[in-house]
Symmetry: D2
Subunit: 152 residues, 4 copies
């Protein structure tokens, strides 16, 4: 299986087989070790502050953690040998995990669509750190985040 | 309306009217400025790592942020005068919000039930800080968290 | 006293009258609500890892917290009326303080000079959040940081 | 060299040979993988807020990071074989380093003596997480912290 075929399969896996992300409607729209991106649309079920009609802080945290995890996984795959099998790739990325996460809420979570992007700021064999941002469709910055991940 | 009647109404509100928490099955089980607690049960839809069958980090972040928010709101209500109307109370607590959240993931999120507790470590008129922990039903510590909240 | 005279006095105050910053050799080189900057030079007394000859993590934390505090104070001064006296300004900024700080160490602290810059990502009447970065004289990124500050 | 002789030598090394800690007067008073402790005394040169006479936030961050590093190093030494030479021990612990540090400032840093303690909340072969607290001599809690460390 070629590298790009593997990346396609993993992307599909992440969009279809991770129940919590699927439930929220989070879709991986860039799966790349340079920069990754996930998106989701506003819906009633994501509200955390009903009187104010704003996203739950946990939704934002989920989107940021997901974007960070995606860029980390893309970077882990980059470092595997070209002939790594799909099973090997899945085995490696399923051992990745978040060690710690910080979210800075900048503005109330309002909008039609939300875009969370992530880049790696520290890359290593054991641990990697990603920086994330979430904007809405108007380019308004909603939140920043930083995640430290074990890269297994 | 008495203070305890108001607290009961707000608890009911938090359990029924916050879509994202209802979706996850998060229930407020202690609503108190000394210590607050929320609980939820394991279900497939909360999985983030399918091969490993563990909770999504965003679920844990949501539970911790919710527990922190509850203890902060309880403390805001404590400081209101005894004859504050329900409307006044709702208006005040809907202006509370998370400024930043940090989560330390200690162990994989596995279990039947998850219990997140929160206490206040810094209390002020403008900003308050809560510390949170999430255990499973066996008392295994899954995650720690700290949240800084604006108290409106 | 004009606004620019006040800013000059406060800058001088920060460079001369804050013992810990003076001890480390931290100098405020930009004092501005848009972006602030502090600098310091390598010296033996700042080492934390002797075998590796790298800065103590606490030095980096100090520089980032200082840069963040400076941009926050500049923004507080910006919001005061033009005829605020020096006493009033000092009184207001001495009530500012760090609520929480996160530092991400990206590379070992090595170099001749270190430059920490800060910008505000959330500005409010009660609380403000700043983002910081520290580079060495070659433009190598040493650390990132985020600080949440009470703005008195 | 026996294990306890090595620990004594490493303690002495940390108290004498780390310039920044020596400068601040930070002394390792417990060097143990269960709980570690460092202490320092108030002195003028540690002030960050002159009008209010309180410690610089960077001093607190330094003490917490140091306490966290000490408990991590103690745990790394615990895992080495009993006949590891002093050189081997120094080589291993000099590869430990802070990945990220979070500090929550709870009360103004005032007192005669400050005691920072640390325990490990996540232990691993690649990365470990420590929780820290700093009190003054009256038992007043000044700050909390969490540090994520690479354990080489």
């Amino acid at each position: 299986m070629t590298r790009s075929a593997i990346i396609e399969q993993i992307s599909a896996f992440m969009n279809e087989k991770i129940p919590f992300q699927k439930d929220l409607g989070i879709e991986v729209t860039q799966f790349n070790s340079q920069q990754s991106e996930v998106r989701f649309h506003w819906k009633e079920s994501l509200i955390g502050n009903s009187p104010m009609q704003i996203l739950h802080g946990g939704v934002t945290a989920t989107a940021l953690d997901t974007a960070g995890g995606v860029v980390i996984m893309a970077s882990v795959i980059d470092k595997l040998s070209d002939d790594a099998s799909l099973e090997k790739v899945v085995e490696r990325i399923s051992r990745c995990g978040t060690i710690d996460l910080r979210v800075d809420y900048v503005r109330p979570g309002r909008g039609q669509e939300f875009i969370a992007t992530a880049t790696i700021i520290r890359s290593g064999n054991k641990v990697a750190v990603a920086r994330m941002e979430m904007h809405n469709e108007d380019g308004m910055l909603i939140a920043f985040g930083t995640g430290t991940y074990i890269v297994g």
